[in-house]
Amino acid sequence: MATPENKLAFDAGWQYSPAPESTDHIKVRKRYGLFIGGDFVAPEKGKYFDTVNPATEEKLSRVALASDADVDKAVKAARKAYGPWVRMKPAERGKYIYRIARIMQERSREFAAIESLDGGKPIRESRDVDVPLAAAHFFYYAGWADKLEYAFPGRKARPLGVAGQIIPWNFPLLMAAWKIAPALACGNTVVLKPAETTPLTAMKLAEVVADAGIPDGVVNIVTGAGETGAAIVNHPGVDKIAFTGSTEVGRIIQQALAGTNKKYTLELGGKAANIIFADAAIDQAVEGIINGIFFNQGHVCCAGSRLFVQESVAEEVIQKLKDRMETLIVGDPLDKNTDIGAINSRQQLDTIESYLAIGQGEGGEMYQSSCPVPDKGYWCRPTLFTGVSQSNRVVQEEIFGPVLAIQTFRTFDEALTKANNTPYGLSGGVWTDKGAKIFKMTQSVRAGVVWANTFNKFDPTSPFGGYKESGMGREGGLHGLDAYLRLEA
């Protein structure tokens, strides 16, 4: 293994010049109202809040703060639109959704740049992952609109009515697509609330919805923080709540919905185990670990944040991880070569940094890559913890940042026991070259998505969602339709 004499060096020599994505083609208004009934309207109380570029701490725009009255207006608009929308020929509904997909593709560069500006994620990811996947979701569900009778054998599929949808800041546009596309395909109308730190692509999506000629009120987008979300959850005119976010908030929502007849789906937190066996394709596994935890700054509910490496290869894997981390570029989200962008908000950075302190305080050995980070903005270098165990908080709790906790194991059963030793159950990863072992592990890990010899892959046809405290219900694929339908005999 590596010694001081044979250590690889990545810090000098040929470096990549800045390659910034141009922003001259994007249009961001100085101020956004609420998108209700097909129009941007001013909030009742006239309040607005800033949305900030986390890479520069500069204000990008101001967005409306929706009050209870605004939410009420949005729900009423959605209710009014519901009748005509549900009576529309399903094939026509499908074509509307398809229009959204097509326009989103046409404006993909603008969407990608705004997503990176507002949320801090690297342009490479918003360009290659978020925006194309969002469009693909609309395409996928557009096609379902007139085929629902084939989805659930022996049942008649009926829409629910008005869906209230609350989405997080880690994949703002993509989560909006995950929510809106199936809801519309199933004949519902929606009131969607983007996260307060990342409202802009939702506002751009509202423009697309308008341009696509979607009937007024079918899609309503209201901006605000937790109180706006609570207003949606508690509104009696809402028939369904779809929430993606923390388990903590998910629990509050489930409690709030107790005693109502609202259907709900929750996509919550995770602390996924990524298990590397000695017989794995090690170099690809290392890459999978990197993608598993450093994708989107680790702001990923299904991130592979708990690494389990079989002891006989642990030293090798950790050495390779450290070398690979040295090649990760942290910085300007708009630079096409940036691998890890800005942490989404000051608040989230504080959370992550508190966990770094906790991890060290618990006796964990922390390693961070040596890359430079900008002076302004919110940044966290890719980070590893070794010398930690299942008893440590950095192993148990969702950090939602680029922080990997590494443990070793000796046997299959040990790895499995530890992998399942968590209240979460969103995702998992297993790396081995042995087929039978793959199936044994993928069947035994209690999680809704299991990646074998890969990690953090997403597709509109592929259902996503958690076991246990990681939530309930699925998004994506045929199974994702269920969240927006009532099945009748």
Partner: protein, 308 residues
Amino acid sequence: MSLTAVDTTTRLPDLSAVPAVDEVGVNERVARFQSRSIKTASKIEALKLVLSMIDLTTLEGQDTPGKVRQLCQKAIHLHDALPDLPHVAAVCVYPTMVGVAREALAGRDINIASVATAFPSGQAPLSVKLEDTRMAVAAGANEIDMVISRGEFLAGHHGRVFDEIVAIKEACGDAHLKVILETGELGTLDRVRKASVLAMHAGADFIKTSTGKIQPAATMQVTLVMLQAIRDYYYDTGRMVGMKPAGGISSAKLAVHYLVMLRETLGNAWMTPDWFRFGASSLANDVLMQLQKQKTGVYQSPDYFSKD
């Protein structure tokens, strides 16, 4: 394994311990390298580095002394209209042409690489291969590009392949030995990785993808797997081994992406012609056109760049 192999495993490593390679994962990693955007100063630096790493190659049945002399002229005068250009690393020719190249490049700091060992098929007795090698070295080659016996490798006779490389290495004397795996005939990335390990343990100074006579020749995928094998060998032994992708790399953009891959896999130490080469014939002109474009801001025509 055959008895022969067993007899010689004193130095042949256990190839079953070589890690598996997942093709899809390799493709994804390569796509990631290709998503790097190399612009402005870093592009110019990279293009010049590419030029300095080229083994300018002619390996045709129709090669003549005249053709080889012209190639050497090109090696010396890549494009005199552009100042501050490096020269290529080497010219690469058949053994019979080594003497011609030696003469044409006299006094120049350009190496002479010769293919040997019954290139490109490798289908000849060891004695013939050794003689081929000695002849090329005697004629003035300071780099030997040998081919492994793919038939033996695929038949599982790893010991024979290993012994052959050891013997050729000895015949090379002071000349550097590049071992061509002919990855296009090995079929899987797993075999590429194993063959890389075998060749390095047998004494290869460089490992090289292809003869250029078999498709597919060099790809970023096989090159990545070989670079990772080099890295692991370096971790284990502390000895640096060079890498030469050859065949099929004809665009400057692709070559720059190879450099991205090299940089992010092996780091700075390998970013020189001592440790990385491109085996190519038409790559140089595309690089030159790109450099000219960077200088002038105007897209170029091939008519303005010499073809030798």
